[in-house]
């Protein structure tokens, strides 16, 4: 097992680490398939409101590859199709019936796997709504089935600081996990399995499968960050990756011929330690979040998630919710206070002397200013970028220079925006740059 120990990243201790006990939530009344957390997709709806659907019925597909389908995680009727600004699809909501009725495929046992040809395997995964769990760096778009990946990274830990513990996700699922790895081997000879150091305690049964152990500094376990630290040549940039939840579901789909609908999620709330929860894919946010003040901000990751509307459902890839408390009022002489309770990665508040878990609120703590070249963003960037230089190149419309400076290595972890004293939205600026480049390349 190789060890990756990047020195840069986020070292504050945030409060809210979920408890490792597990509870099973009751069956929700509705489930949703959100299109908001699927990068680059151009969805085309395949169902209408009030239409009856089975578990596994395609709800929409990706116009760029109509074979890639997003299917219903439940049996019932389409209750609502929600659109956002400019008629962008937000989510398809299904009102669940009492019983599940599945779209059935022929099961494939691990022993049968090799009788399936490569195109058949790909096709089966696409039909079943599983292919998109495989994603491709650096754009994080759905993996291109016509290409051969130089390597595939299996991420045992989710994007967020508080994603479900892989030990819990894998519990009783060692067989599907092994089968999943065998499936991946069909696509690439090099499959890398990476886990956070702090997760190793519960990973004994799959220890021999783990090839890389990463340090406990956010976002060291992000596939982009892992790739940055292990790659040796440019071709490897096109690596694929998959999160462990997706891998297990892919394996279970093949084995049973049915769309697997269970998932494990965590909810992070101030100093509460909430347990891990087993629920249905696309469960309603309200059901998961429990009680929260109407002022609080709900995100799918404090540093790299999106803001969610409590009346929607959890996204396709999302396994965690963070509830940030409402912000206090503007503070008198805020900039002069010694700041014992003002967590910061800088050393300008006394809080840097105490090392305890902190809860941050969802405010900027300042106002946007011009870049003063202070270098804070560089000292925290996990992939050794100089975000301020890239930002300036992008502002000058010099995408070439931005690319040379390593723009595509950015793993959108959010740390540069987090730390910038001028409150510049660096992560957003870089993300937009990357997305524009990706779009241009696709033509």
């Amino acid at each position: 097992m190789e060890k990756i120990a990047p020195s840069k990243g986020f070292k504050l201790k945030l409060a809210g680490m979920p408890d490792t006990s597990v509870i099973r939530l009751s069956r929700p009344a509705t489930v949703g398939v959100s299109a908001l957390d699927i990068p680059h997709i151009r969805p085309k709806l395949l169902v209408k409101e009030k239409q009856a659907v089975k578990t596994g019925t395609p709800l929409f597909h990706d116009k760029r590859d109509p074979d890639i389908r997003y299917v219903s995680p439940g049996t019932g009727t389409v209750k609502q199709i929600r659109f956002g600004p400019r008629r962008r699809l937000v989510e398809v909501v299904i009102a669940l019936d009492g019983m599940d009725d599945f779209v059935e495929f022929d099961p494939v046992s691990p022993a049968d796997l090799n009788s399936l040809s490569d195109p058949d395997l790909t096709d089966r995964l696409k039909q079943g709504g599983m292919w998109q769990t495989l994603r491709q760096l650096p754009s994080r778009d759905t993996a291109d089935s016509r290409s051969t990946p130089p390597l595939i990274i299996v991420c045992l830990n989710g994007n967020d600081l508080f994603s479900p513990h892989p030990g819990r996700v894998l519990e009783d699922k060692i067989k599907p996990f092994e089968f999943g790895l065998a499936i991946l081997q069909r696509f690439s000879d090099r499959v890398i399995v990476a886990a956070r150091k702090s997760s190793m305690d519960r990973l004994e049964p799959v220890r021999h499968r783990i090839t890389h152990q990463v340090a406990d500094i956010y976002p060291a376990w992000d596939p982009g960050a892992i790739l940055y630290h292990i790659k040796t040549k440019a071709e490897e940039n096109q690596a694929w990756y998959i999160h462990v939840e997706g891998l297990i579901r892919m394996a279970r789909f093949l084995e049973t011929g049915r769309y697997p609908v269970e998932t494990m999620v965590t909810v992070t709330k101030g100093h509460d330690k909430k347990p891990h929860m087993i629920t249905r894919l696309g469960a309603p946010v309200r059901l998961l979040a429990g009680n929260f003040s109407p002022e609080s901000v709900i995100t799918t990751g404090q540093l790299n998630g999106r803001k969610v509307d409590p009346d929607t459902h959890l996204g396709f890839f999302e396994t965690t919710l963070n509830i940030l408390p409402d912000a206090p009022d503007d503070e008198m002489f805020g900039f002069l206070r010694p700041g014992l309770n003002k967590p910061t990665v800088s050393k300008t508040f006394l809080s840097c002397l105490v090392n305890k878990e902190v809860q941050l609120d969802g405010t900027l703590h300042g106002e946007e200013r011009a870049c003063i070249n202070c270098g804070y963003c560089e000292t925290i960037c996990p992939v050794d970028l100089m975000p301020s230089f890239i930002m300036k190149a992008l502002h000058g419309d010099d995408i070439e220079e931005a690319l040379q400076l390593g723009l595509l290595d950015c793993c959108r972890c959010g740390l540069c925006s987090f730390t910038c004293p001028s409150k510049i939205e660096l992560t957003q600026i870089l993300s937009l740059g990357m997305d524009t480049h990706h779009k241009d390349k696709q033509g």
Partner: protein, 386 residues
């Protein structure tokens, strides 16, 4: 609700787009945000943000300048007392010094803010906190006897030409405070040259006193002996009880400032250490050169370090992040060359002894080039991703 907050809320309307004083909105905004740190909600990820903001950032720099400022006040009073043959106790020296120094600081802030507000109003951008530092740095580089109108002119030049014409804070190439100081220096060499006036109680007929860097040795004596002769022994220079610009005389206070800036990581230690290394190495080299007996080439590293404005410049001026390089190797080189140039200028040009100011301005101009070279090197080491 907080009563002060109430007043702001009451006034808010008058300064809004449609209000009577819409043009003064940046002033209102600056005042309000001075009292109440604004905390707008994050709109996009990351949804949590660090507590450090630019106001805090600049406040730490101001804090680090306090020892220099207070000592400067005391020393101004002490020196003028000395020149008049009176020996003052601590408080009367401090107060009489403050009486001289405060007007310069106030003029610098008042005139500088006038320009800041004017440009902010025209450009409709918020007033930048950076000026809090510029407005304090500039007076500290002046001799205490500077006529106030020259200070006003200087800060105007620094703010307008040194910063605003480049687009304001964050876009300037040169350090605005140093630009201001250089302007005064070249326009009014008499008030700014090696001999400064020691502020008298009634400043009209103050008494001239040489600063350490203006000391030269006559044939036969060594420079250090000549310096000691005039009261510039090493301990005096280190503690700073010598005539000179308000903020630069005390090496000790500059080092305290440097410690605050380095511990809080506001200033980049690479610039400060690089600068000291450059100065010490170059001073050692010139010291070893034969045939320099009695000139500043013979002064040795310690005198170079403690005399004149080097420590002040490298701590507070060179570390201005905007005009310094943004890459770490660039910062080392930048600092080192400032140290190097400071000694070279002092040695090569006895008529213009204070080399650190020019060295920093000169290196400010080269900072983007240093960054460019460093970036090129970094790019060549990255595995390309296109």
């Amino acid at each position: 609700m907080n009563p002060i907050k109430k007043i702001f809320d009451l006034l808010e309307h008058d300064f809004s787009e449609s209000g009577n004083f819409a043009k003064l909105a940046p002033l209102f905004d600056a005042t309000k945000t001075f009292f109440f740190l604004p905390s707008p909600k994050t709109r996009i990820g990351p949804f949590i943000r660090d507590h450090l903001d630019l106001k805090r950032y600049m406040s730490v720099v101001l804090l680090s300048l306090m020892p220099v400022l207070f000592f400067g006040m005391y020393n101004t009073g002490f020196q003028s007392g000395l020149a008049r043959g009176e020996s003052l106790d601590f408080w009367s020296a401090f107060l009489s010094g403050a009486w001289v120094v405060m007007p310069i600081v106030i003029v610098s802030y008042a005139v500088g803010f006038f320009w800041e507000i004017l440009f902010a109003a025209i450009r409709r951008h918020p007033i930048s906190e950076g000026f809090l530092v510029t407005g304090m740095l500039f007076p500290l580089t002046l001799p205490p006897t500077i006529p106030l109108w020259q200070a006003a002119l200087g800060i105007s030049f620094g703010v307008v030409i040194g910063k605003e014409i480049f687009g304001g804070t964050g876009r300037n190439i040169l350090n605005p405070a140093l630009t201001a100081r250089a302007f005064v220096f070249f326009s009014y060499p008499v008030t700014m040259s090696g001999n400064v006036w020691v502020a008298g109680a009634n400043a009209v007929d103050g008494i001239t006193g040489a600063t350490a860097l203006a000391v030269t040795a006559d044939g036969g004596t060594s420079l250090t002996a000549a310096l000691a002769d005039q009261g510039f022994t090493l301990p005096h220079l280190f503690f700073g009880l010598v005539p000179g610009s308000i903020g630069e005389t005390s090496a000790l206070c500059c080092l305290i400032g440097a410690a605050i800036l380095t511990l809080t990581r506001i200033a980049n230690y690479r610039i400060i250490l690089g600068g000291m290394a450059g100065l010490i190495l170059t001073a050692l080299l010139t010291w070893l050169l034969p045939g320099t007996y009695g000139t500043w080439a013979d002064a040795g590293p310690l005198y170079h370090l403690c005399a004149g404005g080097f420590l002040f410049g490298i701590t507070f001026m060179a570390t201005d992040p905007v005009s310094a390089p943004g890459t770490n190797p660039g910062r080392w080189i930048f600092g080192f060359l400032i140290g190097f140039l400071t000694v070279i200028l002092r040695v090569a040009n006895p008529a213009f002894a204070e080399g650190v100011m020019l060295a920093i301005l000169f290196m400010n101009v080269f900072a983007p080039l240093l960054d460019h070279l460093v970036m090129k090197h970094r790019i060549s080491k990255r595995i390309p991703n296109v």
